[in-house]
């Protein structure tokens, strides 16, 4: 970024802070919840796009990574007295049974949640990313299902299907908005860097990239771990937003939502994912109406529960067939682009 862009980005950040302040004070709880969800989607989707869109490696793991981050944060932040209540059937194993982070270490717990998730990403990436083919897809899908199985069965750690309740609600708009801004800033810088170019080169033609001296395995693995890290942070934010975590919180539906977001925004467009994460968060609420029962005059139209996901999955297939590049393709919204939009066409253009 040049100096001008830095200043503009800083201004945008200030505007965002002001917007958050307005939202926090003047919006109702329902709207604030949607905004929080949207910001968490931004973090998770941008991270997911890094591996799927920029590096071109198909992963189905984000829900697994979010679960890892979510459980880690829950176990670290839940007060000890609450732990005794929650784990009344099977006691929680040491050392989590005695550890509770004070609230000012919330950021550290998010960081650790991210690290654990990155570790999970490393675990699946290591055997699969050295192979050509789509083994990453099937292994990451399996991984997420296994996380689900473990969350249900490894009761001394996860409390099984009952989940963990009473997690302190640290997350608010400042956290989600701030971290979303930071994530987009960091990942955009990364994508525009030499490392990002190497990832794109691998996406375009792995053999040619390797012939130009890029170690594809190491580069992909690092990108996958970074992607896992931010997914973990998003998971941690999510559980401290709704103050509970259970195995059904991070199912494949979560990954699917993120997939729709990044495809609609354009695979490979970070800013595209930001825009569509917001669109999706609101669309999800609007489509809730489809599932509700409506009464118009004397007619009653019964709601169809589950119809939302039918619509979304049909939308994804239609998008892929007819509108594969999404809203932004691989292009990014940039300050240059904004300036060009506002300037009149100049003679040399």
């Amino acid at each position: 970024m040049g100096k001008r862009d830095y200043i503009l980005t800083a201004i945008l950040f200030v505007i965002l802070l002001f917007g958050l302040w307005l939202a926090q004070n003047y919006l109702n709880a329902y709207m604030i919840r949607i905004l929080n969800t949207a910001f968490i989607y931004v973090i998770a989707a941008v991270a997911y796009n890094l591996i799927n869109g920029i590096a071109g490696q198909f992963s189905l793991g984000p829900n697994g990574f979010m679960a890892l981050g979510g459980y880690t944060v829950a176990l670290l932040m839940l007060p000890v007295y609450q732990k005794i209540q929650v784990y009344f059937l099977t006691p929680l194993i040491w050392p989590f049974s005695v550890i509770t982070f004070p609230s000012y270490l919330f950021i550290l717990s998010l960081f650790l949640g991210g690290l654990i998730a990155a570790g999970g990403a490393f675990l699946i990436g290591f055997p699969t990313l050295r192979l050509r083919g789509d083994y990453l897809a099937i292994a990451s899908f399996g991984f997420s299902e296994i996380i689900f199985v473990l969350a249900n069965n490894f009761i001394p750690l996860t409390n099984g299907a009952l989940g963990i309740k009473g997690i302190p609600q640290y997350t608010n708009l400042w956290w989600t908005g701030g971290l979303a801004f930071l994530t987009v800033f960091l990942i955009r810088n990364l994508v525009n860097s030499s490392f990002g170019r190497a990832l794109k080169a691998i996406r375009e033609d792995e053999i040619a990239a390797q012939t130009m001296g890029i170690n594809p395995f190491r580069t992909k693995l690092l990108a996958f771990a970074i992607s896992g890290f931010f997914a973990g942070v998003a998971g941690g934010l999510f559980v401290t937003l709704i103050s509970t975590v259970s195995p059904t919180l991070f199912t494949f539906a979560m990954t699917f939502n993120l997939l729709i977001i990044i495809v609609l925004g354009g695979l490979g467009s970070i800013t595209g994912s930001v825009v569509t994460a917001f669109i999706f968060a609101f669309l999800q609420e609007i489509l809730r109406e489809v599932e509700a029962t409506h009464t118009i005059g004397s007619f009653t139209i019964p709601g169809i529960p589950g119809m939302r996901m039918v619509v979304f999955s049909a939308l994804l297939v239609v998008l892929m067939i007819f509108y594969r590049r999404g809203l932004f393709g691989t292009k990014e919204l940039s300050w240059d682009l904004v300036f060009r939009l506002f300037k009149k066409k100049e003679p040399q253009e």
């Binding site: 799927n52 071109g56 198909f58 189905l60 699946i124 055997p127 699969t128 192979l131 050509r132 083919g133 789509d134 083994y135 897809a137 099937i138 292994a139 899908f141 399996g142 991984f143 299902e145 296994i146 199985v149 473990l150 249900n152 069965n153 053999i207 494949f252 699917f256 997939l259 495809v263 695979l267 169809i304 529960p305 589950g306 119809m307 996901m309 039918v310 999955s313 049909a314 994804l316 297939v317 892929m320 067939i321 594969r324």
Partner: protein, 297 residues
């Protein structure tokens, strides 16, 4: 564990393995030709059970006829998916086709939840499957006895089709080199459709037998068997039909025997299959029967 118990578990594992094998064939055939993980395959398997369920319960058809109709319907569904969702993306980047496959799979599952209902349905077993046979002192359930026998019969027919018929030869040719095969005058699109039909028919047959073995059916029932069957295809060597069968039996037997020998680990038997997948990808990524594939440079 006594010998008779072990024998019972072995037969149980065989029957489960033969079902994975049936399902794995569809994955391996499609992957061999299009390099595509057909995520929707597991949902065709699920639909197969529902087709048979409705034929038996609503249309009151005899069991064998219901199975035949269900297999045919599955083949049609498989071909439709290929024609509508996959063919338009054949020249697109591979990740697009994969995303579409995930989309189709998720669409079928959620449509199933809406149309068929989320609540599990009890699948009517035929008497044949309910019988108990006593072999060498071991009590063998009808399903454990008949499922492997029927499956192996079907697999024999499949091997015949793939290796001895003209269509089978064309399938193998398309898998080796699509462009050259096209130049030889083979209608590649048609062969790909046939491949989907064949794989989906096997999934349908497997689905019905699965329901006879585990007689609770629901729209999400295909996910785990499908994922394990794909793992079986990888273990056997993706793209290789015989390998997929071997892989299926390995996964089925391993799963049952793990649970039999270590009852406390039953909850983790899926995690074990995952471990096996990772292990194979590290040690023998080409699988048991797979050839070393080299990308053309």
């Amino acid at each position: 564990m006594s010998f008779t118990q072990f024998f019972q578990q072995l037969m149980n594992g065989f029957s489960l393995g033969s079902l994975y094998a049936l399902l794995a064939i569809g994955y391996t055939l499609v992957y061999g030709i299009l390099s595509l993980i057909n995520f929707a395959h597991s949902d065709v398997f699920m639909l197969g059970t529902y087709f048979a369920f409705y034929m038996i319960t609503i249309f009151m058809l005899p069991w064998w006829l219901s199975v035949v109709i269900s297999v045919v319907l599955c083949a049609i569904v498989g071909m439709t998916i290929e024609r509508v969702a996959y063919r338009p993306l054949r020249s697109a980047p591979r990740i697009s086709a994969l995303i579409t496959a995930v989309g189709v799979s998720y669409f079928l599952e959620n449509l199933g939840l809406v149309v068929l209902g989320a609540r599990p349905k009890g699948f009517p077993r035929p008497d044949l499957m309910k019988n108990v046979y006593v072999i060498a002192g071991a009590k063998i359930q009808g399903v454990s006895f008949w499922v492997p026998i029927i499956s192996i019969g079907i697999l024999m027919v499949l091997l015949y089709i793939v290796y001895k018929t003209k269509v089978g030869m064309a399938m193998r040719a398309v898998a080796k080199d699509m462009e050259t095969t096209r130049l030889m005058g083979v209608n590649v699109d048609q062969i790909i459709l046939y491949t989907f039909a064949l794989g989906s028919a096997l999934a349908g047959a497997g689905g019905v037998m699965w329901a006879a073995k585990f007689p609770q059916i629901n729209p999400l029932m295909g996910i785990f068997p499908g994922w394990k069957a794909f793992t079986a295809a990888v273990v056997g060597g993706i793209g290789n039909v015989v390998g997929a069968m071997i892989g299926g039996f390995i996964i089925g037997l391993a799963e049952i025997l793990i649970a039999a020998f270590f009852p406390s680990l039953t909850g983790y038997k899926d995690a074990f299959v995952f471990g096996l997948l990772i292990l194979f990808l590290i040690i023998k990524p080409n699988g048991i029967m797979g050839e070393t594939l080299k990308e053309k440079v």
